[in-house]
Structures are given as C-alpha cells and as structure tokens.
C-alpha cells in the first residue's frame, strides 16, 4: 500500500491540476508538462534540481532526528543562517588564503555555527524548561538580523561601494563543481553523506535507538534509563549542525558570497520535506527532490506560460495536500497491522 500512495497522489494531482488550469484558461496538459517535465528534461535542469534540493535535504535530515524524538526544533532557518555566518566569516577575515584547508575549515565552522545556535534552545530547554518551539523560532529572526548587521557593516566588501554584500568567495573558499557547465557542487555530496550517516546512526547505533524509543515511548525510554536531556541536546545539536552545513554549502556554493538574505526559507520548507519523507532518510531524499521540483516547475510555468506566481503557489499547496492526504492509506495500514498483532 505504501508504494501506491505516491501514485495515487500523483493521479489526483494531475486530475485536480487539470481542472484548476482549465478553469484559469491554460492548456492543462501544457501546464502540467511545464511543472513536472520541462524543468528537468535536460541535463542542466536535472542538476538544478539537485542544487535546489541540497539545502532542503540537509535541513530536513537534521530536523527528522529531532522530530523522531519529539524535539520541536522549527528554527533550522536560523541555524542555517548562523552556519553561513560562521563559515563565511573565515573567508571574510582571510580572503587571501589559498590553502586547501580553507574550504574544509569553512564547512566545519558552518556545522559548528549551526550547532551553537541550536545549543541555545537546547540549553534553555534542559536548564530552564523553555519550550524549544518558541526559542528556536525567535532565534531565526535574531539570526537574520545578525546577518543583516554583519553584511551592512564589518563583512561588506571594501570595494563594493558599501552595498551590503561580502567579497565574492575565491576558488579555495568555494565548493568544487561536480559537473562542468552546471552548478552541481560538492554540497550535494555532503547532503548524501549526511543522509547515509543519519540512516546508519538511526539503524545501528545506541543513540539512534534512544532517539527512536524516547520519541515513540518516552516512558519505556525512562525505564531503560535513557536520558531525556541527553536526547534533547543531541537532536538539537545534530539538527543545528546539518542546517549549518546547508548554510555554508549555499554561501560557498551557488550563492558564492554573504548576502543579507541567503535562504528563501529553506529551514521552514525543510519541515514539510521531513514529514513528507515520513522522517525516513530515503523518504527525505525523494521528498526534497519533489519539493524542489515544484519550485522549479513554478518558475518554468511563469516563464513559458505567463502564469502568475500566485497560481504556482496554489498549485504547489495542492500537490502537498494530496501527498499528505494520502497518508491516510499508510495510517490505515498501520491500523490493520495493529489489529493483526492484537488479535
């Protein structure tokens, strides 16, 4: 049944999409083709899909660990931003360095920055019992303003007419391109490694086991002597580090410099991706790619069909509704299983 879900969602999407587009007077077949096929029907488009999905997958894989443990970090956007600030700062202060260790150091700093920003909600939660939904969300705004402060001041390019942006990163501070002539960069490999690591961690390690137990059966976890606080710390730091990696892989990847706004809300969209992928590492890869495709499709439909962004937004929401609604089949399947076991 779980395999039928996406197919059913797709069928329903196509049907409703056809209705919506016919209603708006657009050729529905053409519209759907521009949404789902045209963006990726060539090599460049396919790599762009990966470029767009990379930060989404990185943030989502980090969040998924916390969500499994019922730790509600919704501030990945802020952790992404601070990761970009930390990693980017290294270049800003040492722009001349051509060392091969430059990029690895930036990546490491990015992860540390994200983890540090997530450590604040972790500390406030474990020490003061402050709800992480609020603290992590509020820190998003603080992080965005911090980035704005830095690129309007100390981080800005001295030769840039005082416009709010840093120098463009040099080659030694930039993610290597994987495929000549495209923007596919090393960040996608980082994302893939992150997914694999998370998968192994959840399946094979004690901490992964603890995360799952605390999430599904907190009481059992407590009896087993698992520390709730340790899990809170672990999942927030892990989620923050992943978001930080997303941040640095964006700024030293396709962005190529520090700007006042470095993410169109990847940290928030990643929450959808995490759940769309059912918090499973492989599911998150597919969900990230699909989410990225709806964005690419929206752009293509605007360019080729003159469709306003409002329509593409409505359609994107609809696609998500269907995918999420089809969970009903998955859930019913669990129900049947439960009955089966109970009987």
């Amino acid at each position: 049944m779980v395999y039928i879900t996406p197919i059913l969602a797709l069928t329903l999407t196509i049907l409703t999409g056809m209705l919506l587009f016919s209603f708006l007077g657009v050729d529905p077949v053409e519209a759907l083709r521009n949404f789902f096929i045209v963006p990726i029907n060539n090599q460049y488009g396919a790599t762009e899909l990966l470029v767009k999905a990379t930060p989404l997958i990185l943030c989502a894989i980090g969040l998924s660990v916390g969500f499994r443990a019922n730790v509600w970090n919704i501030g990945a956007e802020g952790q992404l931003t601070v990761g970009a600030i930390f990693g980017g700062a290294l270049f800003v202060y040492f722009p001349e360095t051509e060392s091969v260790f430059m990029l690895p150091a930036m990546i490491l700093l990015g992860a540390i920055g994200g983890a540090l920003w997530a450590a604040i909600p972790a500390f406030l939660k474990t020490r003061f019992n402050a709800n992480e939904i609020l603290t992590s969300l509020m820190l998003v705004y603080v992080a965005t303003l911090l980035l704005s402060l830095l690129v309007h001041g100390p981080f800005r390019d001295p030769d840039g007419y005082n416009f709010p942006e840093s120098k463009i990163f040099t080659d030694s501070a930039t993610m290597p391109i994987l495929l000549e002539g495209t923007r596919l960069h090393f960040g996608s490999i980082i994302a893939l490694l992150a997914v694999l690591t998370t998968w192994i961690m959840l399946a094979k390690t004690l901490i992964g086991f603890q995360v799952k137990v605390i999430g599904t059966a907190p009481k059992a976890g407590a009896y087993a002597g698992f520390s709730q606080k340790k899990i809170i710390w672990f999942s927030l730091l892990f989620g923050g580090a992943m978001a930080g990696l997303a941040g640095i892989s964006e700024v030293s990847g396709p962005v190529g410099q520090l700007l006042p706004s470095i993410s169109p809300g990847y940290g928030f969209t990643a929450i959808i991706v995490a759940f769309l992928g059912r918090l499973h590492p492989v599911g998150i890869i597919f969900a990230g790619l699909l989410m990225a495709l709806t964005y690419l499709g929206g752009e293509t439909a605007q360019i080729n069909l003159g469709m306003p962004v409002a329509v593409t937004g409505v359609f994107q929401g609809m696609v998500l509704f269907y995918l999420l609604a089809c969970d009903v089949f998955v859930n019913y399947r669990f129900q049947l299983n439960r009955f089966g076991k109970a009987a």
Binding site: N129, G313, L320
Partner: protein, 309 residues
C-alpha cells in the same frame, strides 16, 4: 501631563499592533487545546485579510466584511481539518502547506484590488467619554474589533475553564483515547476547535486589511502568523497570557522604533532583535515551574487520533 504626552499615542499604536496577534493567537490556542497543531495561521490570516478587504470594497459593509474574513479563515481551516482529522495527514506539514496555499490563493483573489484604499474601520467616539484625558482615547476610542479581541479572550477563558463543553474540549486535547472511550466525538470536537481557530485567524487578517493598514497587499501578514504561534507557547496555553504576550511583543516593537527615532546610538538591527530576545527571556523566567506548564499544555498536541484504536 508634562513630558508624558507621548504615552497615550504609544499605547494606541501598541493596541493596533497587538490586536491581530491576539485574534490569531487566541484562535490557535483553542485549536491546540483540543490537541491539534495548525501551523497554517499565516495562510488563514491572509485568506481572511483579502476576503474582508474585497467584501468591504464591494459592499461597503464592514460587519459583512469581518464576517467574510472569518468565513474565509474557516474555509482554510476546514481544508486543514479534512486533511489532518479525516484523512489523518501530518499536522505540522499540512499546516505549512496551508500557508503556501494561502499565500497563493489570497494573491490570486486580491490581484485586482492591489493599490485600492478602503476607509479604515470606524473608531468609537462617545462625546464626553472619548475626550477624557489619557483614558478617553485608550478606553473609549478604539474600533469594534479591539473590543471584540478582549471579549474573545475572556470568553475563551470562561469557556475553557468554566463550562462543561470547555472541559470536554480540554479532555480531547489531553487524552483523546480517554475522551473517545467515554463517548465523545474526538474528531467532531477537533473540527469545531480547528474552525474556531480559522475564524479567529480570519478576523485577525481582516483587522490587518481593514484597520491596521486599510489596504490589500500580497503577503501583508509579513510573518505575524508565526509570532502568534510563538505567543501561545509563551502564554503556556493560558488565554489571558496570550493577551499579555501580544501586548508585550507589540509594545517592545513600538518602543524600539521610538528608540531609533530618538536617535539611540545602537544599530537598528540590534534594536529590532529586542522583541524576539525579550520573548525568550520572559519565557525562560516563567518556564521554571515545570509542573505548571505541564498542567496547561495539551498532552495530545499534534498527535493523530485513530478512532478505531
């Protein structure tokens, strides 16, 4: 009054800044008390804002406009309900998708109404009372929705803690299996709570487009739905504290603007951080007593209810 003339206008500004947050916050609070987490506040507010604006422009009737805003919010909430309650979709993801959907559909509905002004919602003016110094304009010079926002907060507080229906709603949020086994319709009650949340977000949106800044502009909520969400956590799920939180948040936002205008020697970004940092600090202070929060936080929040279980 020497030296304090600025107090009254500041308070008036804070009231308008806080009112949309109060509406959205109190609605979501009821939704969450029933055990449902709807992150689509922003989308519902936008639907309410645009529908209320369009209705006001076309009919000139503001009561109808606010009602239409509430209905639009309810329509969005109903979508959310069908997906999460009947089809058991994940609440967090569905709420976020609802926001994406709401941004799109409100822009679509409103595109012919951009750049059209509308008369601001009428403010109360009682000869004699409204002219009183200080308290006159604050207590007797507001528009109807401001009074309504206070009324709703008290009504929700009374409903939740003084009525049997409120007790049932809280029971559904705290332990849906228990509530179900006693014979209450968990899904039905949650639908009502979700719809109430939608109506309130819709009115909060209507307040934006009819009173706060009487116009329609795409995405004009500018993140206020998220702040409303945070306020409920801040209020530890107590209606009265939603009001306090909204006014505190609004108050600090306005004060930092004043500090800038007065030439305070701090970067504007740092001043703009203040409302967010202050909210965290206050939450930390009030969160120390863990048992008190446990008592008010709905235990089943965000969890899917399987009627068959």
């Amino acid at each position: 009054m020497n030296g304090f003339e600025w107090v009254v206008p500041v308070i008036l500004t804070v009231i308008t800044a806080a009112t949309p947050l109060v509406f959205a916050g109190i609605g979501e609070l009821v939704t969450e008390k029933a055990g449902v987490l709807n992150l689509g506040i922003e989308g519902m507010m936008l639907a309410g804002a645009v529908t209320a604006f369009v209705t006001a422009t076309l009919t000139g009737n503001y009561i109808l406009a606010v009602a239409a805003g509430a209905l639009a919010g309810m329509f969005m909430a109903f979508l959310f309900g069908v997906l999460t309650l009947s089809l058991m979709a994940n609440q967090v993801a569905t709420g976020l998708a609802l926001t994406l959907f709401g941004i799109g559909i409100s822009a679509l509905i409103g595109q012919d109404f951009v750049g059209e002004p509308v008369k601001a919602l009428e403010k109360l003016n009682i000869a004699g009372l409204t002219d009183l110094p200080v308290i006159g304009p604050i207590l007797f010079g507001q528009d109807a929705l401001v009074y309504l926002s206070f009324f709703v907060v008290f009504a929700v507080s009374w409903f939740l803690f003084k009525t049997k229906a409120g007790l049932i709603l809280r029971a559904v949020g705290d332990s849906h299996d228990a509530a179900h086994s006693i014979g209450y319709s968990v899904i039905g009650i949650r639908y009502l709570a979700v719809l109430f949340g939608g109506a309130m977000s819709g009115i909060g949106g209507a307040y934006l487009s009819l009173a706060y800044t009487p116009m329609w502009a795409e995405n004009m909520t500018a993140g206020r739905g998220w702040i409303a969400l945070a306020l409920i956590v801040f209020a530890t799920w107590k209606p009265g504290l939603v009001l306090v939180g909204a006014y505190m948040f609004g108050g600090i936002t306005i004060l930092q603007l004043h500090a800038q205008a007065a030439g305070l020697d701090l970067p504007s970004q740092v001043l703009s951080m203040l409302p967010y940092i202050a909210t965290i600090v206050v939450l930390v202070i009030i969160s120390k007593d863990e048992s008190r929060i446990r008592k008010h936080a709905p235990a089943c929040i965000g969890k899917i209810f399987h009627p068959a279980a």
